[in-house]
Assembly symmetry: C2
Homo-oligomer: 600 residues x 2
């Protein structure tokens, strides 16, 4: 059994739950049918298992170091990424006319997910390159695209996102990196960028940085930010990487997880002219960045989910094979020990992981299909609705896995006992790797403000109300299925609470008060969305179970869906009502807490 992917589960999610064949009918995706998708998954799984997985522990134990001013990483990293590039995976989601494979975003997500589960630290280099290429492709001039896109899609040049600075992390409006235009139309970049994943390395021939900077004289705050393409090496007339562009590696951050991904402090233009190319128009950098944020945030949520998947697969195998103790009704101490999966509490921890992992994976892939719909739908109300829905779900798809799939990793460790926290198993690495995702691409708190302050309050709750209507349709369908009726009622109660709470929050005029518990609201909303995902999966499973041609394995598979949906509705969903009650009461304890109580 694979430890990086559950292909049976993927088949269910893609073809039974999401019905992606509907999308494949579009001319854009004409190269992809179900067989082609399976074939690509086979190729991806093989490279991930043979090249990425075997070096994951080594890469973790030997973090990048600077030797003679150059960054050294374990030898297998370059070879693994080279195989990844050979398979065309850097080019997956891009249009054919620019050298891409024009695959749907959901397929790109699924394939990169296998690599993330196998070795998130190494797969990050590809993730960041695609993110940067995506931005360049959307807003860069033809000239820029011609020069930089192809080597990125071929995996010869990697990409990065340079947003944060030492004094400006979550608050981008306060960046101070400057871009001054020269007579040649190019910009001279000066400033420091912090936390740059993949910010320097010697694996690729060149690095294409997407840099936020301010053109002197522009507006204050985020409105004065522009976006620049800044290569590590300047480009020779023949298109190859040439002389240094004066980006100095000022330091490496040493992290608890994802240790194989370099994380750098970079100084731009400190030792000589650092040239940058303006992308799109001046002062629209934040707008461009936000435009691509949905995909990036799905990516972080999905990476978090994949860490949980790894933990779930390993701990489930361990629970099935490790014998320890007896059940409470076995009094004979001389009887043989039972596999620990026989203990109710071990099953609780497996169900908690299964609920989080499969729920989050289905959510991520659902959001990925929304990206595909936006790429294929004609303009109009239908497309606008999908755009609004994706916007509403983006803070959830980023933050729910970051919180609850990290929790899943905690339970995976717990199932293994002492073995769980040793390096003999990858569980503790998943847990360490995953802790970063709660901060990457916007913290939990930032996502809460985005959901409640921007997405919900921004249209007076309209998108949310319409989405709640969609969820109520699922509730209505499930109420008609006897086995699912209690779960449907539970989700219905949650939706009532969500509607009431949202109304109370929108009626509050004071933004401080309205947003005081935005993170709790986000967490509750996330649970309800995942509860909806589970109820839909249970409906699909109940349908399947009504057939009488199922194999034993398939029967267990669908039974597992119904049991896990029940777990989620009984053990998890009631807590979202508890959380919403707090939000609805406009609780001010945190808002009003005097600063002095936290020390001198």
């Amino acid at each position: 059994m694979s430890m990086i992917v559950d292909r049976r589960e993927l088949d269910f999610v893609l073809f039974e739950f999401l019905g992606v064949e509907r999308l494949l009918g579009h001319p854009r995706f004409q190269a992809y049918d179900r067989a082609a998708i399976q074939q690509m998954l086979d190729v991806g799984q093989k490279i991930a298992e043979q090249k990425f997985l075997p070096i994951a522990a080594e890469v973790d134990a030997n973090e990048p170091v600077i030797v003679d001013g150059r960054i050294k990483v374990p030898a297998g990293v370059g070879a693994a990424l080279s195989d990844y590039a050979q398979a065309g995976f850097f080019a997956l989601p891009f249009a054919e006319d620019i050298g891409g494979l024009q695959a749907p975003w959901f397929l790109h997500t699924v394939i990169t997910g296998m690599f993330s589960c196998a070795n998130t630290a190494v797969s990050n280099y590809a993730f960041l390159t695609v993110a940067a290429a995506n931005l360049l492709n959307a807003f860069g001039s033809d000239a820029l695209r011609q020069t930089f896109l192809r080597p990125m899609l071929e995996g010869r040049w990697f990409g990065t996102m340079c947003l944060s600075e030492p004094q400006a992390g979550s608050s981008l409006g306060d960046i101070t990196t400057t871009a001054t235009e020269g007579a040649d139309g190019l910009y001279r970049i000066r400033g420091s960028k912090m936390w740059i994943s993949g910010g320097d390395q010697e694996i690729s021939e060149n690095i294409v940085h997407m840099v936020l900077a301010k053109i002197p004289g522009g507006p204050a705050g985020t409105k004065g930010i522009s976006l620049f393409l800044v290569p590590k090496r300047r480009v020779n007339p023949d298109g190859t990487a040439g002389a240094s562009n004066n980006i100095a590696l000022a330091g490496l951050n040493h992290k608890m997880g994802q240790r194989g991904t370099t994380n750098c402090l970079l100084n731009f233009g400190e030792e000589g002219e650092c040239l940058g190319f303006l992308i799109g128009e001046r002062h629209r950098g934040i707008e461009y960045m936000f435009h691509m944020m949905n995909e990036a945030r799905i990516g972080v949520g999905h990476a978090s989910t994949m860490a949980a998947l790894g933990g779930f697969l390993h701990s489930a195998e361990y629970a099935r094979t490790r014998t320890q103790g007896r059940r409470p009704d076995q009094k004979n101490q001389a009887s043989p020990q039972v596999p620990i999966v026989e203990h109710a509490d071990i099953r609780r921890m497996l169900l908690a992981q299964k609920a989080a992992t499969e729920g989050a994976q289905a959510l991520c892939l659902y959001c990925a299909t929304l990206v595909d719909e936006l790429a294929t739908l004609e303009n109009g109300e239908g497309k606008e609705w999908k755009r609004s829905l994706l916007g509403l779900l983006t803070p959830v798809v980023k933050s729910w896995p970051s919180e609850h799939c990290l929790e899943a990793n905690k339970w995976a460790i717990q199932i293994l006992g002492g073995y769980g926290y040793t390096r003999d198993f990858p569980l503790e690495r998943f847990y360490r790797d995953n802790r970063l995702n709660h901060i990457h691409e916007g913290t939990f708190g930032i996502q809460g403000m985005d959901l409640l302050g921007r997405k919900v309050a921004g249209d007076r709750g309209e998108t949310l109300e319409r989405f709640a209507g969609t969820m109520r349709e699922t509730v209505a369908a499930a109420l008609a299925v006897e086995r699912l009726e209690p779960d449907a009622r539970q989700l219905g109660d949650c939706l009532d609470a969500l509607t009431q709470t949202t109304r109370a929050l929108l009626a509050c005029e004071d933004p401080l008060l309205r947003l005081a518990n935005a993170t709790i609201y986000l967490d509750a909303f996330g649970h309800i969305v995942v509860g909806w995902i589970w109820l839909q999966q249970a409906l699909a499973a109940a349908d399947a179970l009504a057939r009488n041609d199922l194999s034993d394995a398939d029967r267990s598979f669908y039974e597992g869906k119904i049991v896990t949906a029940r777990y989620f509705s009984r053990y998890e969903l009631p807590h979202s009502i508890t959380r919403l009650a707090l939000c609805q009461s406009l609780e001010t304890t945190c808002l009003d807490a005097p600063v002095e109580i936290f020390g001198a």
Copy 2:
């Protein structure tokens, strides 16, 4: 400000909340008054800050390795433990007539806590030595005590607890290590012991292992287990450590946290005779071990709490000084950034940490005073009641901090953003160190079975009901204080739910069904106990605030207690009612989940 202890908080807990002066009146503790306690805390804080704290990061980064068959640890470790020994801290809780300092257990807990916060990996060696000495002192013969106790109390010989084996972790009845009596009355020990913290090292002159083993021919299961003292080196006639006792170091486990504490696989008697001394009577090993379990479990809970304290102190300082972003009502992007403690969600994460850390610390110290009461009370009903109460609270004091103080560490990292997960700050180390505590001294699941199966069902809920009565007295007192009335009502609601749920569980005859959600029950009960702790602290604070001679600092301190009690009652306690409702319904989803749904 110290980063390893909050002395103002300790003063409050010991003298205002617990009223330990009452205990100090007992002849056993006549050497200790408030001034003497402060003096010992001063000494401890100084050694912890000057010798333990500075090497914490180095010890973490350079885990023990085997060089030429001997274990090497960073050089500062031996010196730090030597200073610790010089100050008499190994001897703290032991009677004067055996060379101890005869300090109350609560003082021992407070002092070791500072070392645990400063450097848990190094302080573990002392923790384990005291645990082993405690066991030897309680059940060993005079001859054994004379030979082994003094060098342990002087910190020259360290101790360990050897329970687990590769095939028997939580299920001790299944150990296979044997002890065969020779003509000399000594036992020959043979077998492997796994996960032995401090199992081998070259810091101390000798190691005194407390080993569980089976004498061939005895009863099956736990009833056939006896306890042996097995030294690493045999003892010369002059009392010094002599020849090897044939305990082979078969391997070191590499852990995600507490990395400076060696964790060993030991083979006893593999290469020659390994001699052991029977402690107490045959076949009573488990009984003896359980007798000392209360103290050990308080110790693990307290270590978990101290990791959270470290995270809280660091993240509070960071939140007060780091500027980032603006409040939602500040629209002017050119206005200066605010310290992040101004953001409501940062305060939420600080309050969550403060509630967990200070609540858990007060709980641990309350349980420690119960240990002191058992040591000083005359036999009788009053003493029996304290014994039952301590037994009831032991699974809580072990598991509540392991879960919620780990969660606190998660929020500490979150407050620092990217800095939180780098090694530039100790936050990520606290988080890694703390993850082990959920498994040490019995997992969460084991503690749940202990609480519900043994402690609550064992006396048909009698101790619990009496304890609930004590908690209701606090509720009644707080109902009379206007500011605390909502918090009192909340705790009262929780107690009602606890009583009803417990009755429903006790009425259930099927042990499988009754115990199916024991972990959830434990978690809910733990929340209620900590809620009771907080309500008592709020009452003490309200009393203090009624005085008009308070300094501003004191006023803020007490205000902080009331605000945090409110946080706990509003944000946390309602979830315990949600959890109890699940338990009361005798939910069977986890119990009934078919094994097959977790894979082939």
